[in-house]
């Protein structure tokens, strides 16, 4: 499945929920199920300080595929991270770099990518791409 197809699949899943409560509960649940990030990895150089919540992100690549581990002090932010991780994990660095991540604005959730705001999500999306860029140079 391509990144675009994975994004569409996610949006279709979220579309099943008529009620915002269910949609948020689903996303919070995805966050809870996210692969745990070892506390030893939660270092200051992996910390993304948003204006509200904080995110720790570890990017790595193996055999030409990106792998992301992430955590947050906010369960909603963590759920949003889970959406990104699901879409980008296992993809090639080149595909991650060129990926259009605006699908997040179509989720019907309040959170969105905002170029002028220092929200954790926007900063994290940029960091994920930066990780991919480093992988291509490595």
């Amino acid at each position: 499945m391509t990144i675009t197809e994975k994004q569409q699949e996610l949006l279709d899943e979220l579309d099943l929920f008529q009620d915002w409560t269910e949609r948020y509960e689903y996303v919070i649940g995805l966050g809870k199920k996210l692969a745990p990030m070892n506390e030893a990895l939660q270092t200051s150089d992996r910390l993304i300080k948003g204006c509200q919540s904080q995110v720790w992100l570890d990017s790595s690549s193996q055999d030409g595929k990106m792998s992301y581990l992430a955590d947050s002090d906010s369960v909603i932010t963590k759920g949003m991270i889970a959406l990104f991780v699901r879409v980008l994990n296992g993809e090639s660095p080149e595909d991650v770099i060129t990926a259009d991540l605006s699908f997040i604005d179509k989720t019907g959730l309040k959170e969105h990518l905002a170029p002028t705001r220092a929200n954790a999500l926007t900063l994290m999306a940029a960091e994920m791409k930066k990780g991919a860029l480093i992988a291509t140079q490595g």
């Binding site: 948020y24 204006c51 002090d73 932010t77 959170e111």
Partner: protein, 407 residues
């Protein structure tokens, strides 16, 4: 005294009559900015429709009308604060601007020198900390901090000990934007005066909620923002005692603030004009006076009583929740701040927003205060005259629902 009817007041605020995510808007973010009544909106429009013109020294009719309206606004504001003369009222762009004005002018005066001390409190907004920090760095002055006690009030015993002949200025807020703590300004100012220190009071969170009597407070400077007291954004006030304003040098150069200009030497205008370089926010100043007239028409004492009722009920409702921490003393004013153990304020704020409740989450521009309590932020509900007990009750219900989703 009859009581305030918030339902009647709400008809003056069209913005409140809307739905957010399909739910009626409940606006509890008044400490960040209040909504504006129709009369304030009309005032701005009326200014541009009838008398828009640049003020002062205009030979023509419109300029004279605009000048008269602007200076009448200054008088209204002076009266509202019980200042003895309108020349003590300087128009600025807001509280932050007012603080920077004094910090900058003091820095150019001969009232400060290296080795002196400035005292602020641990409850301050960044805007009442950073300008003084910058001044201290520039002049080699030491910044001292009045500690905050566990109940969110200031440790005034330590404050008394911090004061010495080195203290040149004490700057504190009247009401804390983060916790709603009302500081004992009369005590702070009288103690500071004993050692010859100047006093600055940040009134951004007090002017909207209770009446201010500058003669009683006897501070040297007082500042507030129009937009938190039903007025427009981009305009604020600095009050300064007249003799002090005469003594201070100007901070910005330009038109309006001068008496005579030659390339060799410029002489400066008298206060308040000395501190008002450039064309001011004319309609903003007039609209601020309209907002204060609106407040006085409702009755500021009635607003105080009504808002206290709301905040006491909110505190009662919140105190019944498990694992909650309420910050600030029981007699908090304007705002109530809280956290739930194990739950991020941002998550709660997000879910409350889904239900139509506008609260503020985060550090409230008070990072040192947040650090003092070992947290990154709080949820804050803050009230205005148009909020109702019904809204406070429904807030309790919404909070229950949000907590259920997060636990």
């Amino acid at each position: 005294m009859s009581v305030l009817d918030p339902y009647q007041i709400r008809s003056d605020f069209p913005i409140l009559n809307q739905e957010i995510n399909g739910k009626p808007l409940v606006y509890f973010d008044n400490a960040a900015t209040s909504q504006k009544p129709l009369c304030v909106l009309d005032s701005s429009r009326d200014y541009y429709e009838r008398i828009n013109s640049n003020i002062h020294r205009g030979v023509h009719k419109l300029s004279q009308a605009a000048t008269a309206a602007h200076e009448a606004a200054r008088e209204t504001i002076a009266k509202h604060l019980n200042s003895t003369r309108p020349e003590e009222i300087i128009f600025t762009s807001g509280t932050t601007d007012s603080i920077n004005l004094v910090a900058s002018a003091l820095g150019r005066s001969n009232l400060l020198k290296a080795g002196d001390e400035i005292i602020v409190s641990g409850l301050e907004h960044h805007s009442n900390t950073v300008p003084w920090q910058m001044l201290c760095e520039r002049l080699g002055i030491t910044l001292k901090i009045i500690p905050v006690l566990d109940d969110g009030t200031l440790d005034l015993e330590i404050f008394d000990q911090l004061l010495s002949e080195k203290t040149k200025l004490v700057s504190v807020n009247h009401v804390s934007n983060a916790f709603g703590t009302v500081n004992n300004i009369i005590h702070i100012c009288s103690q500071a005066r004993k050692v010859g220190a100047l006093t600055f009071v940040d009134g951004a969170q007090s002017v909207p909620h209770f009446s201010i009597d500058l003669q009683l407070l006897n501070c040297d400077f007082y500042a507030f923002s129009a937009h938190k007291v039903y007025g427009p954004t981009g305009v604020g006030i600095l009050f300064g005692k007249y003799d002090l304003l005469c003594e201070l040098p100007p901070w910005r150069g330009g038109g309006e603030m001068i008496k005579d200009v030659t390339f060799e030497k410029t002489t400066y205008n008298e206060p308040p004009f000395k501190f008002e370089a450039g064309t001011p926010n004319i309609e903003g100043g007039i609209a601020l006076a309209t907002a204060l007239a609106y407040v006085n028409n409702l009755g500021i004492a009635k607003i105080t009583v009504h808002e206290n009722k709301l905040i006491r009920r909110a505190a009662e409702i919140l105190a019944d929740f498990d694992k909650i921490t309420l910050y600030g003393p029981d007699d908090r004013t304007g705002a109530i701040s809280f956290n739930f153990n194990g739950i991020h304020h941002y998550d709660l704020g997000t879910l409350l927003d889904q239900m139509g409740f506008a609260l503020r989450t985060g550090h409230h521009c008070c990072q040192p205060l947040m650090a003092r309590f070992g947290m990154t932020g709080t949820l804050r509900a803050s009230f205005a005259a148009y909020n109702t007990l019904e809204e406070v009750e429904s807030f309790g219900e919404a909070l229950k629902k949000a907590l259920m989703m997060l636990r």
